[in-house]
Amino acid sequence: MAEWTGKSRGTVFGFKVFVFFIKNFGIKAAYWLTALPIPYFVFFAPNATKSSFYFLNKRLQFSKTKAGIGVLKTYYAFGQVLIDRLAINLNQKKKYSFELDGVKHIENLLAQKSGGFLFTAHIGNFNLANNFFENLTPKAKVNMLMTDNEHEQIKEYISSIAENNRLNIIVVKKDFSHIFKIKEALSNNQLIVIAADRDGKGKNIPMQFLSKTTQVLEGPYKLASLIKRPILFVHIMRESNYHYHLYARPFRGKDYRITTILEHYFKDLEEKVKRYPYQWFNFYDYWKVFKK
């Protein structure tokens, strides 16, 4: 598994089963349901299991036992995050509490009226962003940049059940139409969310992360470097049942060079993954250490 293939494991049928459980038996029952396929994932998604174990054991220096148990915890947390996202979109938001940490930075950004970028990663539950931003003054419109080959069916299904969905998706297209959409969104003082932690098709640049070099797609950094709008590093982490913590930290680099943004972002990311080790959801060979 050389790089992220852009496919998320899961089907529309899977989502429908979970939606049925949340509606009829409650959120906790749905959490338990997500635990059932964990043994399946451990054995039949060997790359994901191996990657998750490597992350905990080698990069975070957990013992083999702790890392082994950690893989199960990670799978379970991944299921819970998915259920929470569905439950909140199914109008059960009042059951959840959200802690806003650094929201003044988002408000400062919006006050500048130039739009901005929110850099995030495949950790925690960033898709809940709309639930945080809809209470801000002025209200923040959030656009999420997604690759074309991410699962279309799942995307459509999520948006079809989403109520009051403030999260707009801008799809990266070969005809670069997304560039115009990004520019238009920024000129309307909107926010552009970009997952900035993965490699992918296009130019990748080396980055030292958790004491080992990995490759990161240059695109998000090049975009931010060129457009020069305020950047926030935003992560939404699950802390307990029905409780999330949003962290927003401003980029305070001395310049807008690609490497400066990259280094600052990964420093912030490193701090978050160390604090929430079981919410690292990059289930692939992130550091390119496994032989094909």
């Binding site: 990266v172 297209k173 070969k174 005809d175 670069f176 139409s177 997304h178 560039i179 115009f180 959409k181 990004i182 520019k183 238009e184 296009g202 130019k203 240059e218 695109g219 090049k222 975009l223 060129l226 457009i227």
Partner: protein, 84 residues
Amino acid sequence: MSDLREELKFKIIEQLNLEDLEVSDIDNNDELFGDAIGLDSIDALELIVLLEKDYSLKITDPEKGKEIFYSVDTMANYIEQHQK
């Protein structure tokens, strides 16, 4: 007329850091985002910014963008037709 095309080629190479290319390597009709030059979508943003900064031309329509940035020739034609 051809000066503008040469100027654009020079700017594209310089702005996009296309170190492997010389002005003479780019044909006026080469597809910029095709196999010949192989630009990507972020490069498109640089071209949009280039037109804004150096030629005071704003492009907001993606469909038009596709046509304008097809080649050096289409870019030059657009500049010639729209620059006051």
